[in-house]
Amino acid sequence: MRTRSLSLVLSALVLSLAIACGGGSSSTPSGSTPSAPPATGLIYTNPTGTGWRLVKDASSTPTRVILNLVGPSDLKTRGVGFNLQAPATIKFGAFTNGMAINEGGVYQLLSAGSADPSEPIALIGGVKAGNLLTAGIFQKDRSQPAQDSGTTLCQIAVLFDATKGLHAGDKLPLQITKAKVIPEDIGTITDDLLTLDKKMKMADITIAVGSLTAN
């Protein structure tokens, strides 16, 4: 029994250290002044630039901010995925598909020529321990052409959580910890495995994230 309770303490320690390293302040909202009124919603300010970025969708409300993932307009890709670390004081929202990601209608998720709604698609979005959103949308059929990336490729939702005691002005840092795309050239089915090995690689990208603030 003694050994067991010791190891519990140890794992709790490791966990809190990991959170401290994560950069986000999870329990104490930062930037708030003691006199700030309680927050009732969120404000998202878009990042600048024309590269990969998360921009606010017009359908957003103060308590449900929809973020569109948009890529560079001169780039063709076959899919994109990313992990987004959020503080514990906000939640990620689900869409009507039951997932924490909504497709943008650009990538062709079904195999070429298929109109079968029950075909498995490479679309996935969920929340890992520590409030890390993991989301991805990919074309599986290489006979589907790569798509222009300069428009909304997918959406995620950030929810205001009234139970977390946020105050107006509290900053809620969002951090992309990993992001990759399937590039246009991933080889062809007739390539030898060595060639495919070189080409079938997802490419790192940097996604610019705006600032999220309680309001």
């Binding site: 992990n83 079968d116 996935i124 991805g136 990919f138 495995l193 079938m200």
Partner: protein, 811 residues
């Protein structure tokens, strides 16, 4: 997935012409009619069948069926009370609705009632003309079949209306070497469920019987518009979980019904059993005579196809010598020992025509003749199809690569049976001697009876009932033979002789003891003694344990002594049995007059109570015994018992999902959960009928033998589980959860651990889906980890989606 799922007409399970309930109170036992009256009713079969169909037409509106729906009688039987039982396929525009069945009872006095639990309502089709020809459908099936040898016969093709809820998918099988469940990649298909609830389809039946493929009867449903394979299954009903005067091996000197040729030679053909020729034999040889016939297995070296030749041309009419022929294998080289005909094109096992080789044929011929007589004399049934069609049996059968078969099976394509040679005692660690013991011959022929009556579908609980029916009635054939194989009643076994309730006790090797133990099925370490949530996941030879034990209790009673092998914790007070004869009649009536093809244990309980009430009256000791015997296997409760605690796993793959399907009815895999390896997940189960909802979780285990851990960690009391590093993507882990309020109540499920780090970056996340997507459609891939389901197709996408969704829910 579908706008409307086809469902049985549940509100009208019993639609009665007279408007009275079937379970009317104080129902008196129906009397048995004298032979003259029965003969008169037999003569009216066509009229009464037409009457049944007319009645169904009148009820169409009530069933929610329109005029395009019709009913095609395929099996008509007159029981000893004078009831005509008409089983009819549901049809739509003249095509069979797959799985659609209605049973109509026309009573002796003419009242008609319909049992509609097998009917399917709301049938519609998008179009009425198939885009594919039958030939195209056949070619699609053959491409999937990928035979190594040649076909045993041209495929049979029928256009059907297919309920798409049965589309799929993901098939499992028992790996018999370890008794554990694995994904069956041969029978798994990735079917894209069509959008409509019903589609036009082709059912393609194939036969393989050659040295490269062995004996297989694989059937397909091919979408007649898209060519998609919507289902694929094996139609052979095998007996494996493992599986004149004649001197028999098992029963001493036995009488044999044989035929004599003009040249005064004899053959093992019972001309008095079977009046119509066997359809498969007649196709090859239109002059082949009728009658139950014994054959031996051959190989045609022109085609490498298996075949068979009759035991004929015998100089005397005495057969066999009471010993078995030696295993025809060279013990040093393991080469098969063959004998050839003059031109060298045909071969058979060495010794097949020796006296010892005849012995196996003697056992099979006696056993099947006695089974035939049992059905004729006790139940008035004219053979398997009640029309006198002749079955046949092949002994000394070949089963690929010279391996001697420890098994026997009913082969629907043949309208016949195949009996294995058995590996014991030739191999010291062999499993069975010749698989021709009388309860096995009775078992296999009964598979034919089931096919031509309830048609119980050979998977899940209906499959368990199918297997149990063969064990029950096969055992009754043994009792009938023990009693002299004459008369119209079935004697009891000697009281307390549990050896009589072991299946294949005399043919199993001494260390094996028996294939199955009807009085306590779990003695084999794999079968179940009771129903529980998850029993559908068992192989049908193991889930049969619950109905087998029910039948034992009904015949012999249950002990009130907790240390007895015939004690049930679900009926601790025990019960008194009603004897073999009454029990067998109740079950035969249940099988032939009540059960629909997709019946589960609960439906079998209801049906057998109705059958017992009909035979013996409502509230009769016999009807009560049926209720108690089911309660003793955890199906329903006995009078006075409280509602039992129930433990169950949630459905995670709803009806029609690709993982759930590939079995009829769907549901078997509905509760199998997919998780990524090396991830913290939560397994859930629910408890009802108690305030104490605490659960005890088993250690995940591979084998169906509980207690053999899979080194997959522990599930915590709250269901949380750190999944292990584990990359057997084909292997299903078993889990069991037990109620702390009632430790006799438990549920079992399976989980599939998916090696989800498809991009091998040591993190399981959505980006892994990108790696799997890039490998889609590739016959080979530079990154094997991207094939999380073992291949670069929709399986990998779907497995990954299931696992990631389960592990990382949207919050």
């Amino acid at each position: 997935m579908h706008c409307t799922l086809p469902r049985p007409v549940s509100a009208l399970v019993l639609a009665l012409a007279a408007g009275t309930g079937l379970m009317t109170p104080c129902l008196a036992a129906s009397p048995t009619l004298p032979p003259t009256q029965l003969a008169a009713i037999q003569a009216q079969k066509p009229v009464r069948t037409a009457q049944a169909v007319t009645h169904l037409h009148q009820l169409r509106n009530q069933f929610g069926l329109d005029a395009r729906t019709d009913f095609l009688p395929h099996q008509v039987l007159v029981n000893s009370q004078g009831r005509t039982v008409v089983r009819a396929h549901q049809t739509f525009d003249g095509r069979r609705v797959w799985g659609g069945e209605v049973i109509t009872h026309v009573e002796a006095e003419g009242q008609v009632k319909a049992l509609t639990q097998g009917l399917r309502s709301g049938v519609t089709l998008a179009g009425n003309t198939p885009k594919l020809s039958p030939e195209q459908a056949r070619n699609i099936a053959l491409r999937s079949l990928a035979p190594k040898g040649s076909l045993g016969a041209a495929p049979k093709i029928e256009q059907v209306v297919f309920p798409t809820t049965f589309t799929g998918g993901f098939a499992t099988r028992v790996d018999s070497t370890r008794g554990t469940t694995v994904i069956d990649r041969d029978l798994s298909i990735f079917a894209k469920a069509p959008a409509g609830a019903y589609v036009l389809a082709y059912e393609v039946q194939t036969l393989l019987s050659n040295t490269k493929d062995g004996h297989k009867e694989i059937n397909f449903i091919i979408d007649a518009n898209t060519g998609a394979i919507l289902r694929k299954w094996n139609a052979v009903q095998g007996d494996s979980p493992a599986a004149g005067t004649g001197k028999s091996f098992y029963r001493g000197d036995v009488p044999l019904s044989t035929a004599v040729a003009p040249d005064n030679t004899f053959s093992l053909r019972a001309t008095d059993r079977g009046s119509l020729p066997n359809p498969f034999v007649a196709e090859q040889d239109p002059t082949a005579p009728a009658g139950l016939t014994m054959y031996y297995g051959i190989v045609d070296f022109n085609t490498y196809n298996y075949g068979f030749l009759p035991y004929q041309g015998h100089a005397t009419n005495s057969w066999g010598n009471g010993t078995l022929m030696p295993l025809p294998i060279n013990p040093t080289t393991w080469e098969p020992l063959l004998e050839f005909n003059a031109d060298g094109t045909l071969a058979w096992w060495q010794g097949t025509m020796s006296e010892a080789g005849d012995t196996t044929a003697v056992d099979a011929h006696y056993g099947l003749s006695t089974t035939w007589d049992f059905y004729k004399n006790v139940f008035g049934r004219d053979g398997i199809d009640d029309k006198g069609t002749s079955p046949f049996a092949v002994v000394h059968a070949f089963q690929g690569n010279g391996i001697m078969l420890d098994n026997a099976f009913w082969a629907p394509w043949y309208f016949g049976m195949v009996f294995g040679e058995g590996s014991y005692p030739a191999l010291p660690n062999g499993y069975m001697s010749a698989i021709t013991e009388i309860d096995i011959t009775g078992h296999e022929l009964t598979h034919g009876i089931t096919q031509y009556s309830a048609g119980l579908i050979y998977s899940q609980q209906s499959g368990g009932l199918n297997e149990a029916t063969s064990d029950m009635l096969g055992k009754m054939v043994q009792a009938y033979a023990d009693g002299g194989a004459t008369g119209t009643t079935i004697p009891n076994f000697p009281g307390g002789d549990l050896n009589k309730w072991k299946i294949a006790h005399d043919s199993a090797a001494p260390g094996v003891d028996a294939l199955r133990f009807m009085y306590k099925p779990s003695l084999d370490g794999m079968s179940t003694d009771c129903w529980y949530d998850g029993v559908d996941l068992l192989d049908v030879h193991l889930s049969s344990g619950a109905p087998n034990r029910f039948f034992y209790f009904l015949c012999e009673g249950a002990s009130a002594n907790a240390s007895s092998a015939t004690f049930s914790p679900y009926l601790p007070g025990g019960m008194t049995g009603i004897g073999n004869d009454k029990a067998a009649r109740i079950w035969y009536k249940t099988l032939t007059e009540y059960l629909a093809p997709d019946a589960d244990f609960e439906a079998a309980r209801t049906a057998s109570i109705a059958a017992a009430e009909e035979l013996h009256g409502t509230g009769s000791p016999e009807a009560t015994a049926v209720v108690k015997a089911w309660a003793a296997v955890n199906v329903g409760v006995a009078p006075g018992q409280p509602a039992p605690v129930r433990v169950s796993f949630p459905v995670v793959h709803p009806e029609g999902s690709f993982i759930d399907a590939n079995a009829y009815p769907s549901g078997v895999l509905a509760k199998v959960q997919f998780f990524p390896v090396k991830t913290n997940v939560t397994v859930q189960a629910t408890v009802t009928n108690t305030t104490n909802t605490k659960l005890t979780w088993s250690t995940p285990y591979w084998s169906t033998l509980e207690g053999i851990p899979a080194f997959a960690g522990r599930i915590n009391p709250d269901g949380t589980w750190a999944t292990p590093a584990f990359n057997f993507y084909y292997e299903l882990l078993n889990i069991k959860v037990t109620s702390q309020a009632d430790p006799n109540q438990f549920a079992k499920s399976q989980v599939l651990l998916v090696p989800a780090d498809a991009d091998t970056d040591n993190e399981t996340d959505a980006l892994d889906m990108g790696a799997a997507a890039m490998s889609w459609g590739l016959p080979a891939t530079p990154n094997p980890a991207a094939w999380v389901a073992g291949s670069g197709d929709d399986w990998s996408i779907a497995f990954l989606a299931e696992a990631l969704t389960n592990a990382f829910p949207a919050k």
